[in-house]
Symmetry: none
Subunit: 207 residues, 2 copies
DNA sequence: TTCTTTACTGTACTTCGGTACAATAGCAAT
DNA sequence: ATTGCTATTGTACCGAAGTACAGTAAAGAA
């Protein structure tokens, strides 16, 4: 099966030819020469905010080639976009910077009739689906419960966007103490910096 | 990675040993002898109406073996059961009568950090999730529209918690360029650091 | 009493984020 | 042709964030 990469830019070309020696790269579907019934795997490389182009391109490919399969490579993976494009007929959605071994696995799955999604996205789908059936308590509270009272307090201020200095002033302790609490939060919640802590406590984390 | 089949009966033994010569078959997790940090792929064979046993077993395995992965083989696949067990930490769910080639594919996927689901289940998940992930809040899209395409892309990666270095690698530009885009975002959106940018794009406006 | 957890602080250090000066180049509109 | 926006990169610098390796003090559980 031919591998046809449709990309507005060439930044990831090396990655693709590394995965598939026969990879063909185009900037537009219109450039593709292929029989209506030939089998082809289209890899659509999309930037953020390209939903319209993506949508139109998927329709165009599926209308023009009856045995085409489409996998979307997203620079900025997003659940809504994934759901949209999969419902329009794509059979895969993953990070654009996935390395060669992943691309090979994706091809193996979709060429056998499967659908490929990244782990984060899948778990998100599973989690949200379950919410529809059983309204679960927020994961946020369980995260906060793994912290000591003071740590929890500091964590919440971090998640509002306050700096260490500001938090220290508010709590009337030294900045060093704030750092100590924050480091403890990172350790206990398994995150690596204050931004990820904030995302976690704002319940925007996918992992 | 060892393949450990946990099954109440031996009816499918031949199938498994056909797929994995080294397959080990047990009737209970308690019989498994394995170091706490050894890597192992547990295949749990479940009948219909075994949700409780399944749930308990998954928890037991994940608690006892830190590098274990779990795939559920269901005699009677069911969406609710799949969603349940996947949310508890399983990384695969498929038909117990899947043939050897499928089992090998499943192993390939999960050993690379993926999740294996059948197509029906996936589409169910996508369909239900779409109801939840409709449109982004207007404030977010209007914020993104005040940025150039590249800036918007970078901003969204920031709001996922990525570091400058990671973003640079993904976009295949230098860290300096990423910094330039991010600074431009700050200026245009009137925020002062990446954390507030992330909160803004996650629609958690500051109080 | 000893052990554990929590809260707090100090010094020194490295890394990361962000800004201040730039500059080059493409592309589109006037 | 000039103007303006976008994308890119460079060097240098400063301050914030975070870690390493400490220590003190109080309270509650064993």
């Amino acid at each position: 099966m031919r591998d046809l990469f449709i990309s507005p830019r060439n930044s990831l070309l090396a990655n693709w030819t590394g995965a598939f020696e026969q990879a063909e790269v185009y900037t537009s579907v219109a450039d593709v020469k292929m029989g209506k019934n030939d089998a082809g795997l289209f890899w659509l490389h999309v930037d953020a905010n390209s939903q319209q182009w993506l949508s139109a391109t998927v329709v165009q490919i599926l209308a023009g080639f009856s045995n085409a399969k489409i996998v979307v490579l997203a620079n900025v993976p997003e659940q809504a976009e994934a759901a949209q494009t999969l419902s329009e007929g794509s059979v895969g959605y993953c990070h654009a910077y996935s390395d060669a071994s992943v691309l090979l696995a994706v091809k193996a799955v979709v060429s056998h009739g499967g659908i490929w999604l990244g782990k984060d996205l899948l778990q998100y789908l599973i989690a949200t689906s379950r919410q529809l059936v059983t309204a679960q308590p927020a994961a946020v509270t369980s995260a906060l419960h793994r912290l000591s009272p003071r740590e929890s307090e500091v964590a919440q201020q971090v998640s509002l966007g306050l700096s260490n200095k500001e938090i220290a002033r508010i709590l009337n302790v030294t900045e060093r103490t704030v750092k100590a609490h924050i480091s403890a939060c990172f350790e206990r919640l398994g995150v690596k910096d204050r931004l990820q802590l904030a995302l976690l406590l704002n319940d925007k984390s996918l992992s």
